[in-house]
Amino acid sequence: MSRLVPWIALIVFATIPLWLQDPYLLNAFITTGIFIIAAMSLNLLLGYTGQLSLGHVAFFGIGAYTSALVSLGFNVELIGGLRVVHEPWPVWSGFVIGTLVAALCGYVVGKLSFKVRGAYFVIVTISFAEVVRLVALNWVELTQGPLALTSIPPMTLGLPGVGFFDFYSKQSNYYLVLAVLVICYVIIRRLVYSRIGRAMVALKENESLAVSVGIDVTRYLVLAAVFSAGVAGASGSLYAHYLKIIDPDVFAFLYTVTMVIMVITGGKGTLAGPIVGGLIFGFVPVVARSFAAPEVQWILYGLFMILIVFMLPQGIVPAVEKWFSGLGARPQAEVKSQVTMRDTL
């Protein structure tokens, strides 16, 4: 039964543009989907390795800017009079390069910042994001600074033998985001249920014990950071080509907070958690803006965040799972899942 849930959810979400015509709501679904991808990437770090990164928006923004710049082209002078000219490339290559550059940044940041843990790790990651934001704000020749990068082309995709697509309409963007989301979900699922994923969980549960059984801590943490940053970069690229304009505000701390709260609300360390939490927090502003001023919306958002942490620290998905297993009163279900876990060990 529970195996069917992702398929049913997929079918439901795939049919939404067929009956939902309202462009505002469709737009809310698309941006929510993009943030769900980012939240899934954060969940890989926060939920599976237990490291809270509050600079995750840096990878999102790096993906967005890289992708936009690759497809727009740029002409900048580096130190020493060296001029770098880049002609516009096809948009799909921007997506790929944006993802790779974000993953590379994840590697560097992971390599450096996993020397410290806990609160210090959090502060290093925030600092990294703020430095990147200030660079985006001040390197005007490359990023246009506060004037924003504008007229970013929509995503295009040429498939040999199938045809050429451009993702200009909301409907097509919806399916693009859904497709990327499903791919990222599958990749993360494969990763989490692999040897690597179990090593990550072991690190989260007890780092010293994990080390004593021969798990190379830094290696697995950096690996998680690379995957996580790459997926975040991919979502940033989707964001840039969907909105067609980005400014240094994509690095805002509140975006990271949004991702974190999506993961926590849904349930960290569960595959469905970021999706459930993401849908809730993606649509809270849509509901709240009908009756509240922007400041009041944010106040409610902050209060909601405190309440969630107080009442449901484990998140919705684990709570629902527990409720279901209690409802069915089938202790063997739990035993069975343990057995299947062991089979894959």
Partner: protein, 290 residues
């Protein structure tokens, strides 16, 4: 040369308020192990409180300063009671999220109450700056420096010369042992948070009239305070004081000689650099990587 000295003078004044911010945070972070993201909001709370009392109610500027410090203390105690006490058993990430929620609520509350337009406070000091040889310092800045130094000295005396301070130091070293020796841990936590908050409010109250007061002013203050704490080492008032002055120097020089746009980047580069190359801080006596 004159420019260099003027930068140093400016850094001294800025650094004294940074030190207040840093001391407040180093006490809270060191003793309670709470990553206080609302620290910057207490800083802007102090600034707005001075605006409320001095500009709107029309009371004396010095009365307003004292009122802001007391109000910061009370608000800190309230935050501790409502948000942190129920979360005592929670891990550091969880309390961090609660404080981020508090930060969002407080910042937008300010925006809601005071609006987005920046406010300014008029002070009883003469407009004309004091000119000594080639430099000029405004009287207000000079007062800010003296008041901040006085508060730094007071907090040093509080922690090192009073019974409360002794209990705070004991709690910092070993919470359980302190508790066994009869220290009321709940009270110490509340006092620590209240004192830290009032120092942040004092920094805002002093610096607010120098610049303008806006809801966004607290945004970077928390992170700068962290930079100071990391630079100075955990739980060390002297370290936080030196850290505050060093951060201010780095910012002044960064803004003066590199680019004013990168002024705020200095703090973050310091954080990254110190944590990566000397993770115990420059002056730390205690092992701190958890």
């Amino acid at each position: 040369m004159t420019e260099l000295l003027q930068h140093i003078v400016n850094a001294f004044i800025l650094g004294s308020t940074y030190a207040l911010l840093g001391i407040g945070l180093t006490l809270i972070f060191g003793i309670m192990r709470v990553v206080n993201f609302a620290h910057g909001e207490l800083y802007s709370f102090g600034a707005y409180f001075v605006y409320l009392v001095a500009a709107l109610l029309g009371l004396n500027f010095f009365v307003a300063l004292l009122a802001a410090i007391v109000a910061g203390c009370l608000l800190g105690a309230l935050l501790e009671l409502v948000l942190l006490r129920p979360m005592r058993a929670a891990d550091i990430d969880t309390t961090m999220l609660v404080m981020i929620g508090a930060m969002i609520v407080m910042q937008n509350g300010e925006q809601f109450v005071w609006g987005g337009v920046a406010k300014s406070v008029t002070t009883p000091f003469p407009e004309l700056p004091l000119v000594i040889g080639p430099f000029s310092v405004s009287w207000l800045s000079l007062f800010v420096l003296c008041a901040a130094l006085l508060l730094i000295a007071l907090s040093y005396l509080l922690v090192n010369r009073t019974k409360l301070g002794k209990a705070m130091r004991a709690t910092f070293q070993d919470r359980d042992a302190a508790s066994l020796m009869g220290v009321n841990i709940q009270f110490i936590y509340m006092a620590t948070f209240a004192i830290g908050s009032s120092l942040a409010a004092a920094a805002g109250a002093l610096l607010g009239p120098v610049y303008v007061i806006s809801p966004q002013m607290g945004n970077l203050a928390s992170l700068k305070a962290f930079a100071i704490v990391i630079l100075g080492g955990l739980g060390s008032i002297g370290g936080a004081t030196i850290g505050g002055f060093m951060l201010a120097l780095a910012e002044e020089f960064g803004a003066g000689y590199i680019s004013s746009g990168y002024r705020d980047a200095m703090g973050f580069l310091i954080i990254i650099g110190v944590l990566l190359f000397r993770p115990t801080g420059l002056f730390a006596r205690v092992e701190r990587i958890g």
